[in-house]
Amino acid sequence: MTEYNDLIFEISQPGRTAFSLPESDVPSVELTTKFPKQLIREEPAELPEVSEPQLMRHYTSLSTKNFGVDNGFYPLGSCTMKYNPKINEDVARYAGFAAIHPFQPIETVQGAFELLYELQEDLQVISGMDAITLQPAAGAQGEWTGLMMMKAYHTKNGHRTSRTKVLVPDSAHGTNPASAHAAGFDVVEIPSNSNGTVDLVELKKQVGEDTAGLMLTNPNTLGIFEKDIVEMAEIVHQAGGLVYYDGANLNAILGQTTPGMMGFDIVHLNLHKSFSTPHGGGGPGSGPVGVKEFLIPYLPVPRIEKQKDQYVLNTDYPDSIGRVKGYYGNFGVNVRAYTYIRTMGPKGLRQVSESAVVHANYLRKKLEPYYATPYTQYSKHEFVLSGSRQKKIGVPTMNIAKRILDFGYYAPTVYFPLIVDEAMMIEPTETETKETLDAFADVLIQIAKEVEETPEVVLNAPHTTSVRRLDEVKAARQLIVKYTK
């Protein structure tokens, strides 16, 4: 069989189509009689012309060149690639959820609002907050939404112009500084100490009258629980700042503690991470944001509320930051998360964090003899290895990542967090079996041996994927971002 590598534009032939449209049952309209000439398109858009079987083969072929969680283990740290339950998919496709319009009369969509309202309540409990908005489309948008509320709060309290700085640890996700910037704040980086946690001395040094707030994930991106979190929150609060929780790593603490208990004022959750909604190769996600009571006036509008037995939309929040996304957020994603929470219940969610944490520690323990491990205290749901030993013998971490692909696994997150040299961040999640963890450990051990014995095998990886190592530098230098004939 010949390998299929064409772009859909390359198999296109004039005259083919993969769809049939109804014949018009109303009088025809000559465009030139309706639109001025300059508004009528001169050259048609060159969309492909293929038959339905061609189309299905094209996309099926593409799917075979793609790796998802259903294909195998996906230990991508900080991304929480757990199994995506199938019932969630079925439910989200019910016409009563998929075929409803956001502007329908509110009494015709009470089921949808009931679901959203109950999801808000569940997420409130899980995060330890007093109110939730489901509007943000993804975690990063949740961050920005939270920071906009932080800004609105300081403005209301007369400190908008003086509280200009957001403190972000050097181990933070890149979205933290980026969303702080988009909310108009200056970013101050707080270094981590040798234990991989926030340096309290540095924090005290930086915090002051210009502090708007601190952004933090706990456990942090090294997979370490910031055990001084209560004190940190106090330090920031005493200085008049707010404390923001990046929920990317929430999976590790589901049912064990809550950001609310830890002293956080604002929280975002990544539903595609902790709540099993699939990420679709890069999205959609959903990034609900929770706040403590004193911040409720700043939440985006509209708010979904319950009056007697009716769900209503309330826009009457004069201090609201406004709207951050169209309609009510990524509803279809929220339906999936709701289904998951109902499937798991409180005990299931607690067991999620237990298994995720056991798995991470077990896998780290198995790998410690073979890779440098900069931090050795208990991991939460993920841990970071360093490829520094292998780098010294001439094999950088990226090559180890590519070699992992040869064994039918996805690679860990590499070169992040930035504070670890040659970082490899591994997150096994709770949905993997012990057998999978053992097999993956064996592969990483084998690769460590290959680095010493046959480094070229690793340096030339991957060998079994649909393409060999791709030239990223060339892609950026000789920029081709669309097909041209």
Partner: protein, 448 residues
Amino acid sequence: MDKFRYLPDTEQDQKEMLDALKISSVDELFSDIPAEIRLTEDLPISQAIDESTLTKKMRRLADRNATAHDQTLFLGAGTYDHYIPSVIDHVISRSEFYTAYTPYQAEASQGELQALFEFQTMVCELTGMDAANSSLYDGFTSLGEAANLAVGATKRSKILISKAVHPQGRQVLQTVANGHGYQVEELDLTTDSTDLTLLEEQIDNETAAVIIQYPNFFGSVEDLAAIRELTAAKKALLIVMANPLALALLESPGKLGADIVVGDMQPMGLAMNFGGPHCGYFAVKKKYIRKIPGRIVGQTTDTEGKRGFVLTLQAREQHIRREKATSYMSSNQALNALASSVFMSALGKEGIKKMAQLNIEKADYMAKQLESKGYSLKNEAPFFNEFVVQLNRPIKEINQYLLQKGFIGGYDMEPDYGMENAVLLAVTEQRTKEDIDRFIEALEGMHR
């Protein structure tokens, strides 16, 4: 241990793993969480329910909503009831696509990357632009990002946006602008289009960009060429938010001089989903390629010279550039971009034109029928598949009545535009002549 079907650990598994860690209980692994912040009881949420009970519960919730399958819908206003070919769900239900993450390891993600490269190409074709990203959250967030780009590129501090841009788009833009601290001014309308005289008055040397919707919220097609002249005179950028389906027959904004074109792919194969997830697209002229927000797929070669695809220009992005990134956005709507690509491929070059033509004809028919019954249209400019009609009672009341007759009526123009008793009606290829006639009959019945 209780049994949960997504959690594979047996008691034996757990014991072996804890033994390997030389600890006796899972609790030990949580000992770094101070006792005063440990939960001692279960989260007070509902207990787990089995799948069959859950399915019933979810069906009950779904059944409480009136859907476009059992009601005849004339509601649009940014989200449209178009036909979704069967092939789309078959493609996006392939778990290799929907269970994948952002393609950080290109060699294991060629399917996704190629599909997004094809998506970018199709967006460029429709919009007449040089480059597109692989999608953003939705049309309104794309609009906000476009304004950010314009402010950054021109080093100016004011955005002019037409009031004929979707009210929610304007609201999102205002929030975005408040973040960055630039100014947004709204442009008043004639009746249904941007008032070009006012545009000429309001545009100045601090104007970074003018934002126009095409067709606009009233369904009317704005005179982009004339607007381009006014923006060019002040060296401001022209940002166009366009319905991609309309671009099958309307001249592309790129050809008419737009610098940035954004919009939502929802009309192209995406379920209405109660407003989300949809799929924002973002396209620019060559000059602005390096300022694009979000993920961009680029073509390259592998070590054997074979064509392949990678995420490119990543130095603009938050995970590399941190606070200096072009945008905070990390994820996109890749799966929905894929769905719209399948849609565009299924209809193809000719099908897409035919579908747009059907939309024009159906809307034209309905508008003419309404006019023949004595209703007046508010649109002065030509419209695509939506238009505003003046009725003689509050729209809320009319829609309540229509609902009993099996119709979901149009968008009430009063709250946003103060237009009393005016309704925005959308007519897609899904509506038959009979649907339209019955709707008008129902409307007439109410007045009688």
